[in-house]
């Protein structure tokens, strides 16, 4: 895109009308204002796209195979490990990293911190896409994906934790769509829709907080159904849900820091000056919030060990692994954040965010796979399962990029608003 945006002043599109006063059509907006040959040219000179093509060449047939021949064709069909990577990574890992929407929605709309305005839309989009693709992962994993609405409308089991997860993820997904829609309405030029949503923004934000608290926690509470299967250090019937909720706070913030870093470095043409100029400031602000959430998390982790009388476990091999997880995934990035905030060292914060996000996924995989059946053998996922997981994640990446290329997420729409 750099190729064209330097030569042609009307690109990237940020206005309803072209230089000569005529209006952009939706089709032209979708093609980024380029001709088909130009679009192809920019597409194929990007090495990331070549990598994606190779990934999908094998991934798509594998996904089709999963639907044609059953889950047993792509996984080890384990009865001892009912949940593998699709849920361990896709649901339990993606959802906490998508807590960004409610975090920044709350900061800006509820607490009135307008200084975080420039990052709000990116955080909302990050949340929406993360949840949406968690559902996509679920649709790969469910035995009967066509029955997804059953817990809502056909046969209800309201006393189950998963019932709460299903309902809350579904409602929260709708809330997040409503929160991201204003950007879409600006882009297509339907301002009435934007005004309607604006009226309900406080309600949507509060709904977001309630739904997030409960279903982030509920994902942790799901594991309390297996108190005898998961290593005691990773499960606590009193505290696991709080662990999952609190860790989603710094997980979501870290993910926004990562996304904004990638966008700033590889999509500079799309960002406007407000976004670029404010980015260091908001990154430091988010790191401050994340480090506070991290120290809270560490304290509750400690309380859980004390409450459940698990000190002796800390001296075992599993205990060392537990300390390693907390040390690398939480304590290290926490200090990186704190040091970065203190010394305005934004690069350190960005590296820390990367570690923290990987750390969240590591924690969720530990709970769902590594420390699950800790007295049994260790399940290593089938290569097809890994490939499909990476393919769906790549699809998430492409969708994310597709939207940020076009909608006013990291830039302000210059036409009427």
């Amino acid at each position: 895109m750099k190729l064209f945006s330097n030569e042609r002043p009307e690109i990237p599109i940020a206005h309803h009308t072209k230089e000569d006063g005529s209006a952009w059509t939706i089709k032209e907006k979708l093609w980024l204002g380029l001709s088909v040959t130009e679009y192809k040219k920019q597409f194929f000179r990007n090495p990331v796209n070549w990598f994606m093509i190779m990934l999908f060449a094998i991934g798509i047939p594998l996904i089709l195979g999963r639907y044609a021949f059953g889950l047993g064709w792509v996984t080890h069909a384990s009865n001892d490990y009912p949940w593998g990577l699709f849920l361990g990574f896709g649901l339990f890992g993606m959802v906490p990293l998508s807590a960004s929407g409610f975090m920044l929605g709350t900061t800006v709309e509820l607490f009135g911190r307008k200084d975080f305005h420039s990052i709000e839309r990116l955080a909302l989009l990050n949340g929406l896409l993360g949840y949406f693709f968690a559902v996509v992962f679920l649709e790969i994993d469910l035995g009967m994906p066509w029955r997804l609405p059953y817990p809502m409308f056909v046969s209800l089991g309201p006393a189950a934790v998963l019932f709460l997860v299903a309902w809350h993820v579904a409602t929260y997904l709708s809330v997040q769509i409503a929160e991201v829609l204003p950007a879409f309405f600006e882009w297509i030029g339907w301002l009435k829709g934007k005004r309607i949503i604006r009226r309900y923004v406080l309600g949507l934000t509060v709904a977001g907080i309630i739904l997030s608290t409960l279903h982030q926690g509920a994902l942790g509470a799901l594991f309390t159904y297996a108190p005898a299967k998961i290593h005691p250090l990773w499960i606590s019937s009193n505290f696991t849900w709080i662990h999952f909720f609190v860790s989603s706070i710094f997980g979501g913030l870290s993910m926004v820091i990562i996304a904004s870093t990638l966008i700033k470095n590889f999509m500079g043409w799309r960002c406007d000056d407000e976004f670029k100029d404010n980015l260091d400031y908001v990154t430091i602000g988010m790191a401050k919030g994340a480090s506070l959430a991290m120290i809270t998390y560490l304290v509750i982790k400690l309380v859980a060990v004390a409450h459940d009388q698990e000190w002796t476990y800390l001296l075992t091999g599993w205990g060392s692994y537990y300390m390693l997880e907390l040390g690398v995934a939480v304590v290290l990035p926490m200090f990186m954040f704190a040091f970065g905030v203190r010394n305005n060292w934004v690069t350190l914060i960005r590296v820390g965010a990367f570690i923290a996000a990987i750390g969240i996924i590591w924690n969720r995989l530990n709970t769902a796979l590594v420390c699950f059946n800790w007295q049994m053998y260790q399940e290593i996922p089938h290569w097809k399962e890994v490939w499909i997981t990476v393919t769906i994640y790549a699809l998430y990446f492409l969708t994310y990029r597709f939207i940020v290329y076009r909608l006013p997420i990291v830039y302000e729409w210059k036409g009427e608003k």
Partner: protein, 320 residues
Amino acid sequence: MKKLNRRSFIKGGLATTAAVTVLKEKKSAASGDFDNYPEGMGVIVDLTRCVGCRSCEAACNKEQNLPEPEVPFDDFSVFDYMHHGEKRRTDETAYTIVNRYNPPEIDHPLFRKVQCNHCNEPACLTSCFVNAYTKTPEGAVIYNAKVCVGCRTCMVACPFYIPAFKYSSAFKPQIMKCIFCYDTRLKNGEPPACVEACPQEALTFGRRKDVLKIGKQRIRETPGKYVDHIYGEHEVGGTAWMYLSSVPFDKVGFDTHVPKEPIINSVKEFLAMVPMVLTIWPGLFVGFHLLATRKDKVREMEKEAELKKTKENDEKEEQA
């Protein structure tokens, strides 16, 4: 106004106490004290009697129309089968299996039959978000494939690793598990196929409370033969299928670390929080919003007040 004398005070007091007692009793009977279908059926499995003939496996296979096994039921090499260091378990082709153990304490092997234990408060049932499981008054935990979504939470929740998933099917996958022969036998008061097939009377079928008594009687009447414990009497809140053994249960493949309470009890901590969050959060956070944005309003008001003051001062000066 009617005067309250000593007699009427005592009368009223007694009446109130009586009313409270009656109401209280009623209430406690209505909640919490659910007696888990006291007439439910159960089976006691005596490990000392089982010879590992696998007749129960064969009978189950036939009764439940399961696929023909790769290894015939009279082939005992299956006892040596190991997968990931684990002995055989129930799967989509077998609702029950028998495993052999060689505990060092005794000079002969012991055999353990595995099938659904039909818990009093089943974890599979309480974890299911589409209500696919039912605990019938007869004691069976049955499953409805018509509403199952295939999320496999029941498999995660089951402390005994019983439910299996039909991973091989793309279009009609479902949970595969022992249903106590509910449809074909238990409903009519008959014992399940495996019990009927057992040539050693290792399996005793009857009301749960009765077979529990039989188990206790055996322990009492033959001192030294059994360990003084019936596995399933209290494990995860009690199960319909229970076990007697001559060696400690952990030596014959039983998980002795499962909680004594029903699995759902460890989830209740979270479930109790849900209504609190739902009711407290909205008010709390709208309150936060008002507090957070109050500063701007206060600033505006202060400005106005200042303006007013300066105006008044100006007027006073003018008057002076």
